[in-house]
């Protein structure tokens, strides 16, 4: 049976060339980058080449790139590291739709006495710039706002948020795990940025934190003093080399985008379907869709049987049995939240759009037949309005999308 992997926001298959470059380090450049002998020097050279390549891509200095174990550590280092280095600033601004690693780091600081403002989002998942401006105080340590949301793919206006922070003299951190290498980001007003390898066809266990020169943070992992003292632990040279090699991966952005729009148009023909999150400010490969009156885990399981691999925001599928707080923040009706699917497309989707839509349609209708909740006309109307609105977007952006 063929399998279509449509869960690239969870993780990705390592690219062949990336794997080759990583393998070379495993077998040939295996030294400890801190060793002074030839084998160590060779590993050091690989590591610094990788750092240089990433810095060049980001348009920053090599010393501004810190290697970490991944996005979670980068986000923790940014927030906790800033807090440790700036003990007098006791206020943090973030949003309600951040990744749990940001929210948990911030909640930890809250329990230690920090005050936190969690910015709400509108029904499309967007943060208001006025809110950012309004919440900044004299003692604000950092504003931490993600670039691309992991569930709904909505892209925040990082450049403008950064500009506000810079003007007000407040540090700005962005979690760019879902946008890194896929959605260009100008670091002009960004002070710290987190990125991860395994979302972009590099290995798991490698990430970066960009720290603008002059921004002082304290380490949260101490020991041998690697990475300029900011992240102790033997350098992950294979990971770093893999992450740098991922810069050359062709993500087929335009083809995947076209695929995404075809699939969305097809899914919206299923009764009781709606797309979550803004269509205009959205990463090229994300589809967050909800179906009324069914449950996402069973939908995911049926698709799994057909070799279509996706994820869901339903409570039943989460280890904590809680429904998606992101969809809740968008005030999506609970009858839709449970029936939510996230498709994060990659090359597998190209040319398979009809098959994907058909399998999802079949599965939704099968579960609807089982469900005690019948799809009412009232709901249908609401959905139909949304459908028209989104179809306009999909079919060429001729008319401006109406605000709701």
């Amino acid at each position: 049976m063929r399998g279509l992997y449509l869960d690239n926001a969870a993780t990705t298959r390592v690219d062949e060339n990336v794997a080759l470059s990583v393998n070379e380090v495993f077998l040939e450049s295996y030294g400890n980058a801190s060793s002074l002998h030839k084998v160590g020097r060779q590993a050091r050279m690989k590591l610094e080449d990788a750092r240089g390549k990433i810095a060049n891509y980001l348009g920053c200095k090599s010393k501004e790139v810190i290697f970490t174990s991944g996005g979670t550590e980068s986000n923790n280092l940014a927030i906790r590291g800033l807090a440790k280095a700036n003990p007098l600033k006791k206020h943090i601004i973030t949003s309600v739709i951040e990744h749990p690693c940001v929210l948990d780091a911030v909640r930890d600081l809250e329990s230690e006495g920090y005050e936190v403002d969690y910015l709400e989002v509108d029904s499309k998942g967007l943060i208001s710039l006025d809110d950012v401006e309004e919440k900044i105080r004299k003692d604000t340590l950092v504003v931490s706002i993600m670039h691309v949301n992991n569930e709904i793919g909505v892209v925040q206006d990082i450049e403008e948020i950064g500009r506000i922070c810079r003007m007000r003299g407040v540090y700005f951190h962005t979690d760019n795990v879902q946008g890194f290498l896929k959605k260009k980001l100008d670091l002009g007003f960004v002070d710290l940025m987190s990125g991860s390898g395994h979302k972009v066809q590099a290995p798991k266990g490698i990430g970066i934190l960009y720290v603008r020169e002059g921004v002082v943070i304290e380490p949260i992992v101490t020991g041998g003093g690697q990475e300029g003292g900011l992240r102790s632990g033997t350098e992950n040279v294979p990971g770093a080399v893999g992450l740098a090699a991922a810069i050359d991966v062709d993500f087929k952005l335009n083809k995947v985008l076209a695929s995404r729009d075809l699939i969305i148009a097809g899914l919206l023909k299923i009764p009781g379907a709606k797309i979550n999150g803004d269509m205009e400010h959205r990463v090229y490969n994300n589809i967050s869709v909800s179906f009324y009156g069914i449950e996402g885990e069973s939908l995911m399981m049926l698709l799994n049987e057909d070799g279509i691999y996706v994820s869901t925001g339903s409570a039943c599928a989460s280890s904590k049995l809680k429904e998606s707080y992101v969809l809740k923040a968008l005030k999506v009706d609970e009858m839709y939240i449970h029936g939510s699917l996230r498709l994060s497309l990659g090359a597998d989707a190209i040319g398979e759009e009809d098959y994907i839509v058909e399998k999802i349609r079949e599965s939704v209708l099968k579960l609807r037949e089982m469900s005690p909740f019948k799809f009412s006309e009232e709901n249908l109307k609401d959905v139909r309005d949304k459908k028209l609105e989104i179809r306009k977007e999909v079919l060429g952006n001729e008319e401006e999308q109406e605000d709701n």
Binding site: E295, S298, M301, N304, E305, C316, E369
Partner: protein, 126 residues
């Protein structure tokens, strides 16, 4: 065991649920669960000679919720009301082999729905 590490029996009842649908001339029914947690089960029964002559279910929920609903109707069908009433949620999960532990509480409510449907039947009769 992860959330969706279901055994073959669960998957079989999920893929091919028994007694699924609406029972047009039901004598009694009951719905348990809560839309806000995502699992809702509706059991409908037809009773003759104090026996469950026919039974059907409708469920919105995860694979475990659908499989337990299906199994509960299998266990109850043809049984006397007194016997059917004794079927517990545990009996249903045992009949399926095992459920992922996290699913025992929220997704295994079909026996509760059945018991409630029988109680409703007896109430209606009075």
């Amino acid at each position: 065991m992860g959330n969706t590490d279901y055994n073959e029996a669960v998957m079989d009842h999920f893929r091919n649920p028994r007694n699924m649908g609406e029972l047009k001339d039901a004598d009694a029914e009951a719905t348990v669960g809560n839309p806000s947690c995502g699992d809702v089960m509706r059991i409908m029964i037809k009773v003759s000679d104090d026996k469950i002559a026919d039974i059907k279910f409708q469920t919105m929920g995860c694979a475990a919720a659908i499989a337990t609903s299906s199994m509960a109707t299998e266990l109850a069908k043809g049984k006397s009301l007194d016997e059917a009433e004794k079927i517990s949620n545990k009996d249903v999960s045992l009949a399926l082999g095992e459920l992922p532990p996290i699913k025992e509480h929220c997704s295994n409510l079909a026996a509760d729905a059945l018991r409630l449907a029988i109680a409703n039947f007896r109430k209606n009769k009075k």
